[in-house]
Symmetry: C2
Subunit: 202 residues, 2 copies
DNA sequence: ACCTGAACACCGTTCAAGT
DNA sequence: ACCTGAACACCGTTCAAGT
């Protein structure tokens, strides 16, 4: 028999398996050989559906980027649309702990990869920001969102030395950090969005 | 002879060599074996001065963190001290392209590693922020700085497909991005610092 | 005390061979 | 068209041996 009689391999099945494996065991534990084993197949079979490990990682990233929700329709204030987009970004990062690492190590130029960027720029444009200001607003907002998540990840990983319980007080010597992560995130998000709104008015 | 007659190996020489190698060829190209070769020594000799590759990476990160300048003395407004610290962070990231990647992959709890965090928290405290607000201000500021650099790195690397010249217009479909990176950085930095200052006033 | 060389258990990937 | 198995050039690291 060819592949133990299971449903045949496909790019989708390979990518799904890779994402699941990275979610559960971390990106460092993901190897072509181990992924193949978990799919009940030999390592080299993967190369029929994915040209290289780099392509596998890019495919995983694309799958995650597709999960971003950046509302474009009417019925929402531009700040609310960006707030929704930022929260969606945070959610994807929580669901897929390798998201940020993939984002910063794989460089893809497909349509689905650039769509979120184009969407956010579009929102700033329609809000009234001119070319360069739209770009700077984009960089400020995305910078904050990306950095906050990164920072929390560092804190979380650093925590692992203290056992499973999150009651580790000195964490990063930040008093009261992590008590309400969502509120912490929105504190800075409001700071940036309100600052941008003020800039737009005057 | 023992090591080709050169100056003897030491932790300092090993770390310096590793940082230089990562600066020039990227973190991915840094292996114990290649580092040893460049130091004119056998791979296993490194283990006399560094217990593991993870320890090597942590040591490199510590060396970079020591280069951060966060002024604590008087004669400066608290926003100016933070502005200086943020700019210093940007400089270290430019000098050592692996800085951010090391920061997010190595978790160290030594004094020199936590000093910058403590310094920034201290500045917010002395400016008048209470416990939780100081932490949130810290997260907002560091989040922005970290994320902006990350974002620029992604953009820069993405550029590599267009050749050496930076005249690649569509980059990340950001109009006018990269024309004045320092000004772009300060745009968001001011946004955060001015927002925090306003919050402090009431 | 420090450096070496062989060895082990891993990697990603090529290539010739099978069906 | 797709899967396999052996092979190649790499990894980090252990261990026994050298000086």
């Amino acid at each position: 028999m060819s592949h133990a009689g299971q449903t045949p391999l496909s790019r989708t099945r390979v990518l799904d398996g890779a994402v699941r494996m990275a979610d559960q065991q971390g990106l460092a534990a993901l190897s072509m050989r181990k992924l193949a084993a978990e799919l009940g197949v030999e390592a080299m079979s993967l190369y029929n559906h994915v040209p290289s490990k780099a392509a596998l990682l890019s495919g995983m990233l694309e799958r995650m980027l597709e999960q971003l929700e950046i509302p474009s329709g009417p019925g929402f204030d531009w700040t609310d649309r960006l707030r929704h987009g930022a929260t969606s970004f945070l959610l994807v990062a929580r669901t897929h702990p390798s998201f940020i690492q993939l984002l910063t190590s794989q460089h893809i130029h497909t349509g689905t990869a650039l769509a979120p960027t184009a969407a956010v720029i579009g929102i700033f444009r329609s809000a009234g920001f001119a070319d360069q200001d739209a770009t700077r607003a984009y960089q400020a907002l995305v910078g904050y969102v990306l950095g906050f998540i990164l920072q929390q990840d560092v804190g979380t990983i650093g925590l692992s030395c203290c056992g499973q319980d999150e009651s580790c007080a000195h964490r990063l010597s930040l008093p009261g950090a992590g008590a309400d992560p969502a509120a912490d995130f929105e504190f800075g998000l409001d700071l940036v969005l309100l600052g941008l709104a003020a800039k737009l008015r005057g």
